[in-house]
Symmetry: C2
Subunit: 371 residues, 2 copies
């Protein structure tokens, strides 16, 4: 439990852990670290609490408890009854766990922050549950945990609760992390695919396909090297600015696994409308496009981890675009297409020469364990 | 996204899936089921949405969105600003995934329901994130998902969001599930270890050590068979009744991994007080005690999954006990000890002959992957 009156105790303990420096002598995670006894407590104190320590986190084993009024205030509102709680989760099994520009740690935080953000919520608290393969170096775990802490700070969220399980060597691959998150959707926000109307504009917040290609190349089993970095980052600042500039925004979504092509298909199928995308408006970095071409992969189906797509009414499109472009991480945002009546429930790509081709949902899996 | 106006669409889709029966032809989970494309969508619709389907769940890939006023109402209160949001998570890696009396599915729901309950919250929404080893039989997944649905119904909570990842054969052991949960702590509840006072009574809600022994014996690698069932069940009804009967309750905790001995040690260390337990008051079922004796395991350190310990002021102890005993699952509750001044920060067991022995924290791991 971590009710308000316990805060002093928790903060004192964090101070104590920090003042005494690193006292965890183990170099590798063992089954005992997952048993709930002394070794577990040491791991939690020395690795997790020492890194994340804040006034809500308590022991990483119980519920984090947060004042509802504070959550609402963080979302720029106060409790009137019309607010909604957004609640999201994702497991991260990315392989390798470190790759150019990021790691499983910042991915796990950014992914959940972004899921909340595109639901219209202002993210507040994040949970972090670890399944660790016996034998993982403690230093590797520390690096991942530090990445999570940095990502949480960047997004302005707190890691408030968590869990650690250890399984025998061979029963998992190094490290899986599941995050969940909570945030408040102000009463003024009402996003839904059903609100999407013919003529609405489609905004994409940045270049596509960087994350998937960065992870794929980091595996090193392709005869190809290119300096491509993941786009892993929080988009909550961008979505908030967009919702302020374009209050009639219909729908938002981050285009992670399955890529932009899959997300737009889901929008088309859920809304019953058509989605037209202009190929020349889509931003794909030169290096990423080259790698996709060589490997025969369509960048439309490659995962992104710091990008979202929004549908905004035509008369708010320019304001939305300006708001997103004005912020770091949104400089390359673009209006890439529009909602059309036909083809209903489908996505069509308009090519540079005025031709069109259908964009279907992803079939199969070109890139397993990409997030 | 699943805002209110989308509900019709979601419910329609659930109806459609149910009406068309089982159309998922695959017998085994493949990497394609984790890729975010067509196969993923089919798995989610046919296995998860078909089973859990409710008005909040939408596609298992986005944030579940719940009205805050409804959460508060479920907790028997209305929004005044003093309520707190409780938020908890746990990963489940239990091996085997089915065992007498339960499975990884009901464990994953009950565990998070119980973490929320002992924080004083009324649980409301649960998330479910799956990491699945390629090759798992779809029927096994269905059984687990059905167990989760039954457990959620029994606890009165909704599964509102989720995620599915698939890893290659050998990169995980069958199935890991991470649940998170949210609930509201009414403004009247203020539990904290710091409130524990000398003379307070210690209530334990049921027999101990059944879960850990049931799982251990289910592994079949011990030359011992006994009809021991897990105690896996939700305790939210019990904790709510206890808080009503004993409003000055100081602290509660479920005694999962590490067992009652570890939890009482954490209470002693956090509160600075001593904990005295009367051995003859602890309920250990005969079969469970026998199995522990044969294997040389102290039942105090064996995991429970449907039991909690509460510290209540002496003058509310009998009322608390009566309230818990009156409910199904609480019949064997007992007042097992009290808070003492000495030994400070430690747990002492008073034996039947009036002797005492110190109860230390668990060292090592007698029972890996017990939850």
């Amino acid at each position: 439990m971590s009710n308000a009156a316990d805060e002093a105790t928790v903060l004192e303990r964090i101070e104590r852990v920090r003042a005494h420096g690193d006292k965890l002598k183990d170099e590798f995670v063992t089954l005992a670290h997952g048993a709930g006894g002394k070794a577990s407590a040491q791991l939690v104190e020395q690795v997790f609490v020492a890194e994340y320590g804040n006034d809500t986190l308590n022991e990483m084993t119980d519920a984090g408890v947060m004042g509802l009024a504070a959550l609402a205030a963080a979302a720029g509102t106060s409790l009137s009854g019309g607010e909604q709680l957004a609640f999201s989760t994702d497991s991260y099994v990315v392989n390798p766990i470190f790759f150019p520009g990021g790691s499983i740690g910042d991915l796990a935080v950014n992914g959940t922050v972004n899921d909340l953000s595109v639901s219209g919520a202002v993210p507040y608290g994040i949970s972090a549950a670890f399944v660790i393969e016996e034998g993982l170096e403690i230093d590797v775990l520390r690096r991942v945990v530090a990445d999570m802490h940095r990502a949480a700070d960047r997004a302005g969220v707190k890691i408030v609760t968590g869990d650690t399980k250890v399984v025998a060597k061979g029963a998992a691959d190094k490290l899986f992390i599941t995050t969940a998150g909570v945030g408040i959707v102000p009463a003024s926000v009402a996003l839904r695919a059903g609100a999407v109307s013919v003529g609405d504009a489609i905004l994409v917040s940045g270049p596509i396909a960087d994350h998937g290609m960065a992870v794929m190349l980091a595996r090193g089993d392709l005869a190809l090297a290119a300096p491509i970095e993941t786009d892993s980052k929080p988009v909550n600042g961008l979505t908030r600015a967009l919702l302020e500039a374009a209050p009639q925004t219909r729908w938002m979504r981050d285009a992670t696994r399955g890529g932009l092509g899959t997300v737009l298909n889901e929008l088309a199928k859920t809304s019953g409308k058509g989605v037209a995308v202009y190929e020349e408006k889509l931003v794909v970095r030169e290096m990423t496009r080259g790698a996709c071409d060589i490997l025969g992969i369509d960048p439309l189906y490659v995962a992104n981890e710091g990008m979202f797509v929004a549908v905004v009414p035509a008369d708010e499109a320019e304001a939305a675009l300006s708001a997103v472009k004005a912020l770091p991480g949104g400089e390359e945002a673009a209006l890439v297409g529009k909602i059309v009546a036909e083809p209903a429930s489908a996505v069509v790509m308009v090519t540079g020469f005025g031709g069109t081709r259908m964009v279907d949902m992803l079939v199969g899996d070109p890139l397993p364990r990409i997030c």
